[in-house]
Symmetry: C2
Subunit: 323 residues, 2 copies
Amino acid sequence: MHVTILGGGGFLGRKLAARLAAEGAIGGRALAGLTLFDLAEPPPLAAPFPVTRLAGDVADAAQLAQAIPAGTGVVFHLAAVVSAAAEADFDLGMRVNLQGTLAVIEACRALPTPPRLVFTSSVASFGGGQGAVLADDARQLPANSYGAQKAAAELILQDASRKGFLDAVSIRLPTVIVRPGRPNKAASSFVSAILREPLLGLDTPLPVEEGFAVWVCSPRRAVEWFLHAAAMDTAPLGLDRGINPPGLSVRVGEMLAALTPSERAHVKPAPDPAVQAIVGGWPAAFTAARARALGFSPQEGVAEILAAFREDDLAATRAERGL
Amino acid sequence: MHVTILGGGGFLGRKLAARLAAEGAIGGRALAGLTLFDLAEPPPLAAPFPVTRLAGDVADAAQLAQAIPAGTGVVFHLAAVVSAAAEADFDLGMRVNLQGTLAVIEACRALPTPPRLVFTSSVASFGGGQGAVLADDARQLPANSYGAQKAAAELILQDASRKGFLDAVSIRLPTVIVRPGRPNKAASSFVSAILREPLLGLDTPLPVEEGFAVWVCSPRRAVEWFLHAAAMDTAPLGLDRGINPPGLSVRVGEMLAALTPSERAHVKPAPDPAVQAIVGGWPAAFTAARARALGFSPQEGVAEILAAFREDDLAATRAERGL
């Protein structure tokens, strides 16, 4: 079976690729090849199967056809324009997040056998805000362009699954922490920064209050969910291809409590209404009962998340940033 | 103020245009001109303001720019590929129902002042089926391509409203009865046919059981809702631009009871699994509390619907079909 990761050069794409290289299989099906596709050519990957690395545009039909060849059994579609960037540039967000996903559907539909499509949707596709604990049948009423584009793409993926063009599972990812590297344009960037930057000995602004709650997951857990979504029996999903995975609802203050006092001193209160306006609309908790019943594993606590970051990413982040 | 009706040559578009010609204003704002746009050039309309009739493709940016000139205050976007047609031809439905609506957003965004956009979404954008009584916050989990495309378009219209590109109100229309003319490709075509055809003295198949419930409205009521949506204050809507209007939940047997025995004899049971599969997934009732509170008037009963059809459309339908 061939596997493709769209957005294979990104933070989660690289972690997923490394995991596939280590395991050599998904759900007992051996990988015969892996294609990593991103705007810039993804970095090399040592693997027990051939790895093709392609630079391209996810909204370009011809480039996608190259990235998703005949024999592709699973496509991980992680390519996206993140929340603050999609908010700042509506056209770019529409082109990548919505039209890009429609192009992925067409590429999958052109295959002789409909592939499994694991799509990363987002908590940002919901409204509700701080007080919410969303049930599995909560509707998506996004308060930002990124979330609207993801929710619209989910609807068409759901219909394309019903039509048999592909077999989609859409994972509405919580805010993923701790992201390695640098702060980025996601409105939720601060949720990682307030843990990562202090560990690097750097000051970082806190745009919200300490009582602010966030629905989070770790990169390790996200990759587990992707692999489960790639291998699971989708028959029990029926029409509903959207999964609210069992993340962790945590307050900023609880996250800061996992730091040492000297680390914590690097976090400087700096209220930011623009960030609050976006992230404040996202729900802070989900019941996630359906996902648990479907075998998606629950997120562990903040201490484990921080330990995983130290183990997996701290050294590389230090090196990358010349610290 | 200029007004445009996309789908202005269709059944509801023509009725809406006639109503605008009769009133000359929307919510106290006088019409300076009306553009009727459809695949085929809409029929002439006598009106106290200039009427422009255009043939074109709703997914074509240049043609839309002509149809939505500077000075447009209200756009009624009724252009659509109906349910069974969108189910039979996925690409056509996507092009018109989703990409066409995205093109309408771009045309509105190009105007100096954001216009009101009244969009016809559909009961088909919901799942739930016969047993359902949907609350206003019910999510859209469509079981057909038409509904998926409408729901996805609603999400982007909602976001475009938040961004200030336009000011959208999406009306999830019930099944509209009694449609004049001939049976069409809508899966719900039978709901009109079982009243219209007997009045014309013609036999017609009944693809469902008499206990089957449908969420309906009359053409007169739909036009009332369009005009209310065009003139209403949208501030109370907030982010949520979708309206479940107060239609009527009625069983097929109740509709048939409004016919005389000799008329009713023209309705011939002929179960059709394909029609049942589409229409059977649509919810048969909504609470519609929010729409009532927002001033959308409730649908009257079957007897009034039938009387309106006799008054408004029976003679023209007879003539059109050479009966």
